[in-house]
């Protein structure tokens, strides 16, 4: 069996979203849970090859998989990104569509970087999510922003950073900076729900500062019981911003895929 890929446009409240549904190509019955893959940052899904191979391999074993470009990126509609506060609702809308079209009853979600943070939030907003995988998750607790980084770089070489990043900034909606306490409280609730309602795994790089941040959060909030329910995987070379690196991407992909694979396939 190999994978059949169907590129398409999903109508959403944020306009058309370009996505690809991967299916087995032999007409066989679909096996749940259906897989939803959430890319990091606002890049189009096609920029990083990690999720393509995961989706194709899972489809080869009968599980449907869905990946997409966020609005304002790749082939999706829009010139500007959807505000972060609206992303959860948008992903739920896309999950509804995917479930409606494929008929799967349960979902497994996986994300990388900012997508991993989003994946962790999904069990709270969608009771169908049974598996949740966060690869090199980016826990934004304030105190860091691309804008402040740019300002810092601009001070070193006028306009250099702006030209390097080459993203139109003026038309991008800037959300009000949320305070650290609110972001932290939200993350704690998301972690509690993900740990209780889904089989949850987090994959960190060995020297990842966010791994330290995660452990600090666990200690500060007395979440040791939650930590015990979450599988923590540590890879020596996993990176937050995934500059594709053949070996690292493959090992990261294998770890994500193993956790998304249906128990029915693993048994079979």
């Amino acid at each position: 069996m190999s994978a059949l890929e169907i590129p398409l446009f999903v109508p959403t409240s944020a306009g058309r979203v370009f996505g690809i549904v991967s299916l087995p190509d032999d007409g066989s019955p679909l096996i749940g849970p259906g897989v939803v893959l959430l890319p990091g940052g606002r890049a189009g899904a096609g920029v990083l090859p990690l999720f393509q191979s995961i989706a194709r391999r899972l489809a080869e074993h009968g599980q449907p998989a869905f990946r997409f470009d966020y609005p304002g990126s790749g082939l999706s509609a829009g010139e500007t990104a959807v505000p972060r506060s609206q992303l959860r609702a948008l992903v739920q809308e896309l999950c509804d569509w995917f479930v409606g079209e494929t008929g799967v009853e349960e979902l497994a979600v996986a994300g990388r970087c900012g997508g991993a943070r989003l994946a962790l939030a999904m069990p709270r907003v969608d009771a169908r999510v049974r598996v949740c995988v966060g690869a090199v998750p980016f826990f934004d607790l304030g105190g860091w922003s691309l804008r402040s980084k740019l300002a810092e770089l601009d001070a070193k070489g006028p306009r250099l950073a702006r030209r390097l990043i080459q993203a139109p900034r003026a038309d991008r909606p800037q959300e009000g900076s949320r305070d650290r306490k609110a972001l932290e409280a939200e993350l704690v609730e998301d972690l509690r729900t993900a740990a209780a309602a889904a089989t949850t795994a987090l994959i960190f790089g060995e020297h990842d500062v966010l791994r330290t941040r995660f452990h600090d959060l666990i200690s500060a909030h007395g979440l040791q019981d939650v930590e015990q329910q979450i599988e923590i995987v540590v890879l020596p070379e996993a990176r937050l911003h995934g500059l594709p690196n053949v070996d690292h991407e493959r090992s990261l992909g294998a770890e994500i895929e193993a956790r998304l694979r249906s128990p029915a396939v693993q048994r079979g």
Binding site: E5, P7, F18, A45, G46, V47, L153, L164, N245, A264
Partner: protein
């Protein structure tokens, strides 16, 4: 957990989402039988002219130029030109291994995409478009596709020159990102057999292919073609190579200060778009 839905039934139903009609044009996406399967994004105007463009994507600037290339496709379609943006095998969402991507495979994919556009009656004549090394792909495809033309933005016609410029940009990005250790491409290839450049995988095969690739001077492109560069000196250099290939070559400079190591920016693309659309209307629509 097993669901009674079969993949064939679901696949058939999903095809209704392949096309969207919006703003007097149809956006269509499909996997073309090129290589193991090549993703194509088509923009079909309601009242299309006879000319269609095949957009050949940039190489290592995928993250920075993809949005501009797609925006250019939308501008073309809104002006009545059919446009197809494709992701050659091994790139983007297409099938194929990134390690196996070659300049020649990109040229072949562009030609196969043009054949598909003509067979599907999307248009009657083809203009290949590309920026940077994608511009060289557009020229090479036009050389092999009879009756076609090219439109190239800031083209780089030597693989080695392109590689040098991309490495310079990567080095600057490393400095700006305070990367503690910067290994040269050759050192990375020597140590591991692969390297990363601007977020892309470069294998020894890709490296050798680029270093050895240069635009051939063989077949002439008889249809009216365009070269557009950021400044006069890069225009003179590019036109020196392209004029013998395309005798009917329109040359245009944006008159900007060219920082070759920083590539072609979205601002540059925004300035180039109306000039290119006007050139198409004047040279090909009539």
């Amino acid at each position: 957990m097993t669901d009674p839905n079969t993949s064939s039934r679901v696949a058939t139903a999903l095809h209704r989402f392949a096309d969207v009609d919006e703003d007097d044009l149809t956006r269509s996406t499909t996997v073309l039988p090129i290589g193991g399967g090549t993703l194509a994004y088509e923009l079909v105007p309601r009242d299309a002219t006879r000319v269609g463009l095949i957009l050949c994507p940039s190489f290592f600037e995928l993250k920075t130029l993809q949005a501009s290339e797609i925006r250019f496709g939308h501008a073309l379609a809104k002006s009545g030109f059919y446009a197809m943006y494709l992701q050659p095998p091994g790139t983007g969402e297409s099938f194929g291994e990134p390690e196996n991507v070659r300049v020649s495979s990109r040229v072949s994919a562009a030609i196969a995409a043009a054949e598909h556009a003509l067979e599907a009656n999307r248009c009657e004549r083809i203009v290949f478009f590309g920026c940077r090394l994608g511009g060289a792909v557009a020229v090479a495809a036009a050389q092999r596709f009879e009756g076609s033309a090219f439109a190239a933005w800031d083209p780089v016609v030597e693989g080695a020159t392109y590689l040098k410029q991309a490495r310079r940009l990567d080095r600057i990005a490393a400095m700006a990102g305070r990367r503690k250790r910067y290994e040269t491409l050759e050192d990375q290839l020597q140590e591991r057999g692969w390297a990363t450049l601007l977020g892309n995988v470069v294998t020894k095969g890709i490296y050798d292919d680029l270093v050895g690739w240069t635009l051939g001077e063989g077949d002439a492109v008889s249809a009216a073609s365009l070269v557009l560069c950021l400044d006069d000196s890069s225009l003179a250099e590019a036109a020196g190579r392209l004029a013998p290939i395309a005798p009917t070559l329109t040359q245009h400079s944006l008159g900007r200060r060219h920082l070759g190591h920083l590539g072609f920016t979205p601002d540059d693309a925004a300035a180039s778009t109306p000039l290119t659309v006007d050139w198409l209307k004047g040279s090909h629509e009539a």
